[in-house]
Symmetry: C2
Subunit: 335 residues, 2 copies
DNA sequence: CTGTTAGCGCATTCAT
DNA sequence: ATGAATGCGCTAACAG
């Protein structure tokens, strides 16, 4: 069963292939009448333009690569699915790769995507310093790239970021306003800009309310790391009144340990997470957390990329900062 | 910065393009010496064969489509990532689509993928009866398809499935052996083969141990549904001694409600989930659950597809049944 | 408004 | 063992 080609349609109607082509790319002059006839006949014959041939002649792959660190948290799948919707609508094909939290894998992914001739990239970096030369090269070659979530200051490119500073500030202030004196911040890796921004928000909230800034403990984004941090606090007899965690998984890991040791959440220890996860509403107590606009992030990144793709060359890199929401739940509220 | 083409390499070495082509597809006679020289020079020039041109001439897209119902549970991302690894290794490009639990979306995804001329498909169905005609058509046209997880009996195709019967049996038997008398099964949707298989396993375990088969309550795969079912049992004063749930989310939803109402897990109600999730180890109490071999599923599906791709035509559809593991944890063990 | 022509980059058949 | 020629399906420049 051979695929119907443009020739079959042309032959059938005794027109030239270019006329058929015009009908399908309605940008050249073509009589409305013939155009409709062609479209109609094409449909009857089951003709669909061969995207591969089109790509070859147009010298564009219509492939977009997306690279993310992991798929463990729902954050990245959520962002990706939204971005994909937008891109597919515009006729792009989306290739998704995850780097498994390894910069080497990230580089390999990058190369796989380049081999597949992607026209553009949407990337969340593993580490802001690794592979940076490679990205610079690509950027210099005018490869459209939009970074999001984990971005590198050193890269002059389009970025879609969350206002980590502001929302860390709000989350911290929320804890302060609830009357918690002694707040510990379980911070994400310090090599990430977003960790630093959140730390700054954490500090600012303290300053605003004239408190001493609470302890900042480097942690990570996994339940294990959250649990480990909690265990350490307990062992060291340094359990604070409240904890603000790098993300929900980390918060939940810590929460679990505290509960195991008989601490009541939030009476003994209040907890706030970050980046609303699917679990936040479902654990006990339900978790107060900052919700990131995953949909918006995906859509915005995709749109920025499309803009670049369409105005290749004359395009000014811009950074778009998105807003979030604090979902206050049981884990941080004592009545 | 134009991409180096096969011509550039040929010109540089004063050989013909066909010789270069041969060097890169080492299947024709070519002197080892010239071949090496060509490969070496090609690398120097930064030449990489244009996959699009290759696809056009070979009449293959090297695109593989993967369609899954959702990305909420970690199950599908896990399977996909493994399948993708295998496929990319073989030079395929993977297009991932999720159906959002809607058969219409599934159909749209299917068409998007077909537009992109996928050479093959890996699919987990939304409903076993929907879109079945479409799949039959594709299968009749010799489109290589591998179904997994949610498959349709009516489709004569390659399938990779989990032994739901056996592992539901083991899970149930585990509860029986722990001494729980009265076991309720929160079943997944009855239109799914896998739900029925699990029910059969549930029943068989009861028969083997000469018990009356416990109640089977149709539920679903979400936390909400699990919670709802639990609430209903409590209201109706029909709380069983043990619950076997359709999946971990469902189990956790139910667990939460029971805990809220002061039930102790596992003393008052024991709970077993299905399809090991990231949460199982991290909630309290930790959840006993059946682990599915997600990696194997992904790898097997990919390999089956590759086999079909390579032996197109003379290929006998086969069903591969994979084994799992019961991870016994606190939620089902009373000491 | 439409047809003719060329060619995107490559694999492959047919010569040699 | 290698080169020349052909064409995959399509778009676009050029003619008319």
């Amino acid at each position: 069963m051979k695929r119907t080609t443009i020739k079959d349609v042309a032959k059938k109607l005794n027109v030239s292939v270019s006329t058929v082509s015009r009908a399908f790319n309605n940008k050249y002059d073509i009589k409305e009448e013939t155009k409709e006839l062609i479209i109609k006949t094409a449909k009857e014959l089951g003709y669909r333009p061969n995207p591969i041939a089109r790509k070859l002649i147009q010298q564009r792959s219509y492939n977009i690569g997306i690279i993310v660190p992991e798929f463990v948290n729902s954050y990245f799948p959520d962002v990706i699915m939204e971005a994909q919707k937008v891109l597919i609508d515009k006729g792009y094909q989306v290739l998704i790769m995850q780097s498994n939290d390894s910069s080497e894998t990230e580089l390999k992914n990058l190369e796989t995507l380049l081999d597949n001739m992607v026209d553009g990239l949407i990337v969340s970096l593993i580490r802001e310093d690794d592979n940076i030369e490679k990205y610079k090269e690509l950027l210099d070659d005018k490869m459209p790239i939009v970074f999001f979530n984990r971005v590198a200051d050193k890269l002059d490119a389009c970025k879609v970021v969350f206002d980590d500073f502001k929302w860390a500030f709000f989350a911290t202030e929320h804890l302060i306003l609830q009357g918690y004196e002694d707040i510990v911040y379980l911070s994400g890796p310090k090599h990430m800009r977003l960790s630093l921004n959140r730390i700054m928000g954490f500090e600012k909230a303290h300053r605003k309310h004239r408190r001493d800034v609470g302890k900042i403990i480097p942690c990570g984004f996994s339940m294990e790391e959250g649990a480990k941090a909690a265990r350490q606090m307990i062992e060291n007899n340094q359990v604070p009144r409240a904890i603000f965690a790098a993300n929900d998984h980390c918060a939940i890991g810590a929460m679990r340990v505290f509960k195991e040791y008989g601490y009541n959440i939030p009476k003994d220890v209040a907890i706030v997470g970050f980046t609303e996860s699917r679990l936040a509403e479902h654990i006990h107590p339900t978790l107060t957390t900052v919700e990131q606009p995953t949909k918006d992030i995906g859509i915005t990144a995709a749109n920025l990329l499309i803009e670049q793709l369409e105005n290749k060359g004359m395009f000014v890199p811009q950074t778009i900062v998105l807003n979030g929401r604090l979902n206050v739940r049981e884990s941080s509220v004592t009545h």
